[in-house]
């Protein structure tokens, strides 16, 4: 079942098209990454999903109900962590957690609140306005998780978090995912998307560039780096390797074929190579090549 379904959505602000004909879906239990450069339309897309702003065209469904007609029962099943956390500064952290539970008509499990506050090292007595950026983010995380949502939408959740809290957050999110919770994560941090997400959507200038299964990305494509006086560009081409970067004494290739064929080709070269490295293609590589390809098509 699709928990999130975006069908040809677009958003215009006057003449500016922020999101254009965007379609993808997220299945239940997925840890879905949503990445793109600044101004790509990620936050606008999420704002449309949460009905902060209306779509200029297309349809969005969350948990089987169309936005904006979805009812409060659907909203109760969603947790949201905004990128820019600006909660009520005059309220103490404990009051904010209490209000969040009250909005959801929940009593709240004291042990669970304690667990989250201890885990993220939150001082509940402090006023929200007196907290640092990182601590504000932690409060937003607790408020987004405390009501046991089935779908968690997060916009740059690790901004301002130290590495320890970063690791703890993803441990909690992984636990949630194992319980069947769907997680939609927008991030600039490609490493965290690569480490935790099962699928990722790439967006640029409001348009979807692609949706990739990350496990497939890593398994299928290798990045081959060759260093030497004479680089075997032609031989690599014959085995289907695609040159993605070439300098004087170094070249990088994307290669989808079998490794025995690659090593056999390299061992038959007349000139010696100084260095050969074979690595899984990481998300950054994928991200850059997708954007460069689109840029090339534009030009």
């Amino acid at each position: 079942m699709s928990v999130i379904e975006l069908s040809h959505i677009s958003k215009r602000f006057g003449k500016f098209v922020a999101v254009n004909d965007l379609s993808f879906s997220v299945e239940q239990g997925e840890f879905f990454g949503f990445i793109g450069p600044n101004g790509a339309g990620k936050s606008t897309t999420m704002n449309m999903m949460l009905n902060f702003i209306k779509c200029s065209g297309g349809e969005i469904s969350l948990l089987g109900k169309k936005v904006p007609q979805y009812d409060l029962e659907v909203k109760k099943r969603i947790g949201y962590v905004p990128s820019d956390v600006r909660f009520y500064p005059q309220l103490r952290v404990q009051d904010l957690i209490r209000y969040t539970l009250d909005f959801h008509h929940m009593e709240g499990d004291k042990a669970e609140i304690d667990r989250y506050c201890d885990l993220f090292q939150i001082d509940r007595k402090k006023k929200f306005g007196d907290l640092s950026l990182g601590n504000k983010k932690k409060v937003a995380l607790v408020c987004g998780l405390i009501h046991h949502p089935e779908l968690i939408i997060m916009d740059e959740p690790t901004n301002g978090l130290d590495p320890l809290m970063h690791a703890r957050l993803f441990r909690v999110l992984k636990e949630k995912q194992e319980q069947g919770v769907t997680i939609f994560l927008s991030s600039h941090n490609l490493k965290e998307v690569e480490d935790y997400c099962s699928k990722v959507a790439f967006i640029r200038s409001g348009q979807l560039i692609g949706v990739e299964d990350l496990s497939q990305i890593n398994k299928k494509v290798k990045v081959i780096t060759l260093k030497g006086e004479t680089l075997p560009l032609e031989q690599m081409q014959t085995i289907g390797a695609k040159c993605i970067k070439k300098e004087d004494h170094e070249a990088r290739f994307l290669y989808e074929g079998g490794l025995p064929q690659l090593f056999s080709t390299l061992s038959n070269l007349s000139a010696d190579l100084d260095d050969v490295s074979v690595a899984n293609r990481d998300l950054e590589e994928q991200f850059m090549s997708m954007y460069e390809r689109q840029e090339g098509e534009r030009l």
Binding site: L50, F52, P82, Y88
Partner: protein, 268 residues
């Protein structure tokens, strides 16, 4: 009703400050009454001024200034203007502040509809205003009892204050509702104070112009302050045509605010 509680908690300090300031102002103004009466304020010669001008500024019957009702009625009109500003500010800030301060990203992520946001905010601010007004009127009544001239009837004064309480309450709700309408259009509260001041003074001036020129008499209906001027209420009782006009404005403003807020893109 979580938002209702949150809204009340947010405004409680502002409410207390306004109550204290208006209470002290009332005490200060009314405490001058015995001295002003002894100085012969009512005998001040304003005959050289046009009658319309005196009427516009509620000075048409100088003799009344020798009574607590007359004196209070004249002085308190300025507090009525301040009350209008307070109510308008509550309204104009109510929705726009959430977007301006970014708290809407927390609020609207909760299971709450836009209708519920506006409804609970309207209710909370109406109650806060009502509380402010009841306390202010109670203070004013007590202060008037202390400084009233000998022979002034307490029951008469109570009746006059009851009518003023009602008329002033409707006036404040009118400004509150129009403020709400403005708030539903704004995505920042930076201009809320200036808009509130502008709204109250503009409508007050319309009332003054309406009283100055017979041809523009209809303008008085656009002035909620005129519907609740203490001197007029003490003299003529509640003028229901003004009250009905205010109630219509309240209904239209609230419905329009709901309609706009349900459709607008929230600034996150």
């Amino acid at each position: 009703m979580t938002l209702f509680r949150l809204e009340c908690k947010t405004h409680i300090k502002t409410l207390l400050i306004w109550i204290i300031v208006v209470g002290l102002l009332t005490l200060g103004l009314v405490s001058l009454f015995p001295a002003m009466k002894d100085m012969g304020l009512q005998q001040m010669d304003l005959k050289s001024m046009p009658k319309e001008m005196l009427k516009a500024f509620n000075l048409s019957d100088m003799g009344l200034l020798a009574t607590i009702k007359g004196y209070f009625g004249y002085e308190y009109q300025y507090v009525m203007i301040a009350t209008g500003i307070f109510a308008a500010m509550l309204g104009t800030n109510a929705l726009s502040r959430e977007e301006s301060e970014g708290t809407i990203s927390y609020l609207y992520a909760q299971p709450i509809s836009r209708i519920s946001i506006i409804g609970q905010k309207m209710l909370a601010n109406s109650i806060l205003y009502t509380l402010y007004w009841i306390v202010s009127m109670a203070v004013a009544f007590l202060v008037c009892l202390i400084f009233k001239e000998s022979g002034a009837s307490v029951s008469n004064l109570f009746k006059a204050f009851s009518q003023l309480t009602f008329a002033g309450w409707v006036m404040g709700l009118t400004f509150l509702a129009v403020g709400f309408l403005l708030s539903s259009l704004l995505s920042s509260n930076k201009s809320a104070t200036s808009l509130s001041l502008g709204l109250v003074f503009l409508t007050f001036i319309l009332g003054v112009v309406g009283k100055l020129k017979e041809d523009f008499q209809a303008l008085v209906y656009f002035s909620p302050v005129d519907a609740a001027l203490p001197s007029a209420v003490f003299k003529n009782g509640i003028e229901w045509n003004y009250i009905v006009t205010d109630l219509i404005v309240i209904c239209i403003s609230c419905l329009l605010a709901l309609w706009i807020y349900r459709r607008k893109d929230l600034k996150v």
